[in-house]
């Protein structure tokens, strides 16, 4: 491109903002002139980097697929309607259903991409305006196992209890089930130090782009991570790497955890996992020999029916090596969704109230009810977890109506054909959406809402830092914010004026008060402080408090200040392979798509790069099933079947196939997945189920 000094530069309005996708929340600037463009910004999380999703994020702002008018189903078809008519209809139907079936007949489903303000107001809306206990969100499918394990070990859950720039000083980092090279690419910059020192260890059944960069790649069979963590713990203890003084002074429960790990010596674990005993010892040695080391988990190790115990096993390893709460070292989990951290703190989870409070804690109920101006005994108790909620929709004892904000459940939930069926059995479904997602296509009323750049709001990134994402441009005519939708509905449901404000900063001020004194205390965070550029990590228990970049340095959040080892044993996948379904399928993500793909599939540059579902298969396994590269395979489980394009990948385990879950309809990888739930976190087993492969022509 040739520019001359004289050429007129259009005046551009530039606003600092953050990427709309993952929890890394890359800093970017959005500028408007002839068109809307983004550019990376030097922000600690991304250090000036952006991936293809970030670069192309503005495309969706002006996408022809944007919804700009409410839609109401009339005679089986979604037709444009006015806001007044749509909101009136929603309110009157919800009131009818509640009158007939009781308050729990209306359910609410939220999302981890919603701002803190939306998450907070949605939770309040459910408990106060609807009076229902039936609210949960898609973070249950995301962060719940890590959160549960973090709480039981440390007393509080903040994904990374340290600024992620601390990672740069590490000599060794173990990533368990994380593929940031695709899911949050600029994050890799923080791992470069460990990589250069030979200490980057990646645990993943697949040789992912992240695993390719590792100094040591451990490839366990899907569903055996827990055994692997026990094996590495065993090696660490047996080879003399245990930090006994740390265990004595800062933890409890090592003895009981060790009695189990003692039965998992590396050779034993090799047989379960397929990871060489020598590699387990090497991992222990790299972590123990490092001056600074981190253990980080993500969905690969967490999305199992034993996900909580598996994360506990990794935490036990980190504790035995003395990492958590030690400056320059630690344990953390990599949060996935944009506001996956804040979204799990402010009350859209079935068992929680704002500030990461427990809904069954009488003191928490009193406090929050006081802020809301209602009686504590009017607040419902804990409701069903996400899958359990979806599973009972439209049944005799389940809800009759559902409101969905920021989630595309018919693509992202496990056993998705069944979930679609449950949604279809409801009397009334309402969604708030940017585009007509697969879930909105099933709704009775669809309300068009704003996106990231069109509204104010805060996001809490993967390190617990609260970020202000400012409005950069006006939304299309006809589109409202989710907050305005909730405000409008609340008024129609008889709530007093002002109880459900539509202004983000006003909502945040209320959130601060509601969270005050809770584990995730935001009371000292203000828009003014954020506008001034302060880096505020929760808890921030007062306006004068500087925030808490590093938790646990002086003690853990349990009474007594000690971290807890949790004794955990390996049980393996809920659905072992057998003669009919001899392979294991695992699901995951590609760089170009985000979550259910509802947004990224509408961005041409992304969708042209990865336009359809594929299945990665080892060439030997493909050969036996008669599958050629680029041909179509039918992947079947007990719950459904997916037709996918074959990719023969030599680095795959022969007993495993992989499918990304971003695609809709008959291409949904979640048609296959197993809804076996973790007993603690209620996380479904997304990462392993038994399947068989055949040629697509149906000849099996």
């Amino acid at each position: 491109m040739i520019r001359t000094a004289e050429s007129p530069r259009p005046t551009r309005r530039t606003v600092d903002t953050h990427c709309p996708y993952c929890a890394l929340q890359c800093g970017m600037t959005l500028s408007r002139g002839a068109g809307t463009e983004v550019a990376p910004r030097d922000f600690p999380a991304n250090a000036g980097g952006l991936c293809q999703k970030g670069w192309t994020a503005p495309a969706l702002l002006t996408s022809p697929a944007r919804l700009t008018t409410p839609l109401v189903r009339v005679a089986g078809e979604l037709r444009p309607a006015s806001w007044e008519a749509a909101l009136d209809l929603v309110a009157s139907r919800l009131l009818e259903i509640r009158a007939e079936h009781g308050p729990d007949a209306v359910a609410v489903f939220g999302g981890g991409g919603l701002t803190n303000e939306k998450s907070y107001l949605l939770g309040k809306f459910a408990r106060v305006a609807l009076g229902t206990s039936q609210i949960d969100y898609n973070g249950r499918f995301c962060m719940s196992s890590a959160a549960a394990a973090g709480v039981r070990a440390f007393g509080v859950d903040r994904g990374l209890p340290f600024p992620l720039t601390d990672l740069a000083g590490a000599d060794a980092v173990l990533l368990a089930g994380a593929n940031p090279a695709e899911t949050m690419p600029p994050f890799l910059q923080h791992l470069r130090g460990a990589g250069a020192k030979g200490g980057l260890i990646v645990v993943d059944p697949r040789r992912t782009p992240t695993a390719e960069q590792a100094n040591l790649h451990l490839a366990p069979a899907p569903g055996t991570d827990l055994a692997l963590a026990l094996g590495i713990l065993h090696a660490a203890v047996a080879d003399g790497h245990m930090r006994q003084s740390y265990a004595d002074e800062r933890t409890t429960g090592f003895e009981a955890a060790w009695r189990i790990a003692a039965a998992y010596w590396p050779e034993q674990v090799e047989r379960i996992t397929g990871v060489a005993a020598a590699d387990q010892r090497r991992a222990a040695e790299l972590l123990a020999g490092a001056r600074n080391a981190y253990v980080l988990t993500a969905r690969g190790t967490e999305q199992h029916a034993t996900g909580t115990d598996t994360v506990s096993a990794w935490i036990n390893l980190a504790l035995a090596l003395g990492l958590p709460g030690t400056r320059g070292s630690g344990f953390g989990c990599l949060t996935g969704q944009g506001n996956g951290q804040g979204g799990r703190e402010h009350g859209q989870k079935a068992d929680q109230l704002p500030g990461y409070r427990k809904i069954d804690d009488p003191a928490a109920r009193e406090h929050v009810a006081g802020v809301w101006g209602v009686r504590a005994d009017s607040l419902p108790g804990p409701g069903r977890s996400a899958y359990e909620l979806l599973d009972v929709l439209g049944t005799e004892h389940g809800p009759r109506a559902l409101l969905v904000f920021g989630s595309n459940v018919v693509v992202s939930a496990p056993r998705s054909a069944h979930v679609t069926e449950r949604l279809s059995a409801l009397d009334f479904v309402v969604t708030a959406d940017l585009v007509l997602s697969e879930t909105s296509a099933l709704a009775d009323v669809v309300l068009p809402v704003t996106q990231w750049a069109e509204e104010d709001g805060t996001m809490t990134n993967l390190e617990g830092r609260v970020l202000l994402r400012r409005k950069a441009l006006d939304p299309p005519v006809g589109v409202r914010t989710d907050l305005a939708v909730l405000a409008g509905l609340a008024r129609r449901l008889g709530q007093p004026e002002g109880r459900f404000p539509a202004d983000a900063e006003t909502v945040f001020t209320e959130l601060r008060a509601a969270s005050a004194g809770g584990p995730a205390d935001y009371s000292g965070v203000s828009y003014d402080r954020l506008r001034a550029g302060e880096a505020l990590y929760w808890p921030v228990p007062g306006e004068a408090h500087p925030g808490t970049p590093r938790l646990f340095l002086d003690g853990f959040a349990h009474p007594g200040g000690r971290a807890r080892f949790v004794p955990v044993r390996h049980t393996g996948p809920a659905e072992p392979p057998d003669e009919r379904y001899p392979l294991h399928a695992t699901t995951g993500r590609v760089l170009q798509h985000y979550q259910s793909g509802a947004q990224t599939r509408l961005v041409d540059e992304l969708n042209d790069t990865v336009p359809e579902v594929f299945v990665e298969v080892h060439p030997d396994t493909a050969e036996r099933a008669g599958l050629a590269e680029g041909g179509l395979a039918l992947v079947s489980s007990r719950r459904g079947a997916v037709t996918a394009r074959v990719r023969r990948v030599g680095s795959m385990r022969r007993d495993v196939v992989f499918l990304p879950f971003h695609f809709p309809g008959e291409a949904r990888a979640n048609l296959l997945t197993n809804p076996a739930l973790d007993p603690v976190s209620r996380m479904p087993e997304f990462k392993v189920c038994a399947v068989r492969l055949s040629k697509e022509d149906g000849a099996e």
Binding site: E182, A256, G650
Partner: protein
């Protein structure tokens, strides 16, 4: 439902595991009342880890399987340090050495095995070892060995089997001068073929262990050492005896239960008396070999299903045995049929002998499945082959690559020069930028790495391709 009283004789790895498995299925004792009788006064410990204790990497108390309070917490009556004297099958009662007795509804023999003492003059009398000679079997043995083996002192190990070699490696690592005396012509002859045995001995020799193979000890003189069959002499302050074990079957035999090498059991782990079961080293099941922990644990799980009524159809069909030598600096795995030679007509046999580097790999394939393998010095190949063997998965087409593991060079070596990269090769993964796209941008006027980045976004994600983009810019400049 009334509770059944299950009595377990033996509190070793099998007995302790059975107790755990039963309580896992019946946590409150609603179905099974459980009594465990242990001859040793120790709480159960993990015998597999004794070699780590001997090698000095683990403390003795770290190998215990259960803490002292475990039994109390789980409602298990535990009697330690009291040997059983007799089984009265008619009365369904076990009589203990202290004169007391315990009635049972079901009895489980988990009495394990005892060391076999070779007939060496002066080594033992009436089953008791002479001064300066110790078996390598129990935690007490381990502590005795550690107490007796001063650093630098000469030690002889009688027996070149798995445990003998683990003991030898541990003691050599502690600074002892170790000589292994083994009557067969190669070590671990049950699990290894002669070639692998030779490479293994060579590797261990490099770690400071001497071998006397093909000759047996004839006489032991405390304080001096061993005189061997071939007339030679091995100086030793301590003799560690590891010449094999025998199933402990005396109580069963005396009670008239059918005994061969061990107590015979069927797939429900029943002995010839339906109310008496046996698991672990004392049991003899056609599907497995004795002396390893894996079968004992699998048997414990099946028997717990049966005794608690959790799964009355549970059956034990045998265990595929994987032998792993636990010795620092040596990585050895052996599975299945390892003795078939490369000239065998009925199987496909590959064998790779790299003794100079301590590597030996052999693969026996039948019906496209792993029938046997020895993998020495190639740890990642061992892990893969064991999984194929355990899961009965077909062997990959490229057998040789399987045997070589990671020592095989990568299938697609990275291109030496940007010129060799195909145009479709993705240079920047974060932004899906191919080499072809970079070349296009260069032709359109972007002439430096920075300008290429602006034009294509290459290297603006995680930045790890920045070097490659610079390389392409330089290459394009040089070809201009």
């Amino acid at each position: 439902m009334s509770t059944r009283h299950v009595v377990v004789l033996g509190y070793g790895m099998a007995g302790a595991r059975l107790a755990e498995e039963i309580r896992h299925r019946d946590p409150d004792g609603a179905r099974v009342r459980l009594t465990v009788i242990g001859e040793e006064s120790h709480h159960a410990y993990n015998r597999v880890l004794l070699s780590s204790v001997l090698a000095g990497s683990m403390r003795a108390d770290a190998v215990r399987l259960q803490d002292a309070a475990w039994a109390g917490r789980h409602g298990v009556e535990l009697c330690l340090g009291v040997p059983a004297a007799r089984i009265d099958r008619a009365a369904r009662r076990v009589e203990l050495a202290d004169g007391s007795g315990v009635d049972y509804d079901a009895l489980v023999l988990a009495t394990g095995s005892r060391p076999w003492l070779p007939p060496v003059e002066g080594l033992s009398a009436d089953g008791v070892l002479a001064e300066g000679a110790v078996a390598f079997r129990t935690l007490d043995d381990c502590e005795r060995i550690l107490g007796a083996a001063r650093a630098g002192a000469p030690v002889a190990v009688l027996g070149g089997g798995l445990l003998g070699l683990e003991a030898a490696r541990g003691l050599a690592g502690r600074g002892n001068l170790v000589t292994v005396v083994h009557p067969m012509t190669h070590v671990m002859e049950r699990q290894l073929d002669p070639g692998a045995g030779r490479v293994l001995a060579r590797t261990l020799t490099g770690l400071g262990i001497d071998f006397r193979l093909g000759t047996a000890a004839a006489r032991y003189v405390p304080g001096d050492g061993l005189k061997l069959d071939d007339g030679s002499h091995v100086q030793a302050d301590l003799v560690v005896v590891s010449a094999g074990v025998r199933a402990e079957t005396s109580l069963a035999a005396a009670a008239g239960i059918t005994v061969d090498r061990g107590v015979l059991v069927d797939d429900a782990l029943r002995t010839s008396d339906g109310r008496v079961h046996a698991i672990g080293d004392c049991a003899q099941h056609p599907g497995t070999v004795a002396g390893l922990v894996q079968p004992a644990w699998e048997q414990a799980a099946v028997l717990a299903d049966l005794l608690t009524g959790t799964d009355t159809a549970a059956r034990y069909h045998g265990t595929a045995v994987v032998t792993r030598l636990k010795a620092r600096g040596v990585d050895l795995a052996a599975v299945g049929d390892t003795q078939t030679g490369v000239d065998d007509d009925g199987a496909e046999v590959l064998c790779l002998d790299d003794s100079a580097r301590g590597r030996y790999a052999k693969l026996v394939v039948r019906d496209d499945r792993v029938a046997g393998a020895i993998v020495l010095g190639v740890p990642d190949a061992a892990a893969t082959i064991i999984q194929l063997y355990d899961r009965g998965v077909p062997v990959p087409g490229d057998r040789l690559a399987l045997l070589l593991g990671r020592s095989l060079p990568a299938a697609t070596p990275s291109a030496a020069s940007p010129a060799d990269l195909p145009a479709t090769a993705v240079v920047c993964r974060c932004n899906t930028v191919s080499k072809g796209r970079l070349v296009e941008a260069w032709r359109a006027g972007a002439s430096t790495a920075g300008e290429l980045a602006t034009a294509t976004r290459a290297s603006t994600g995680c930045g790890s391709c920045a070097g490659a983009v610079r390389g392409i810019a330089d290459w394009l400049a040089s070809t201009a």
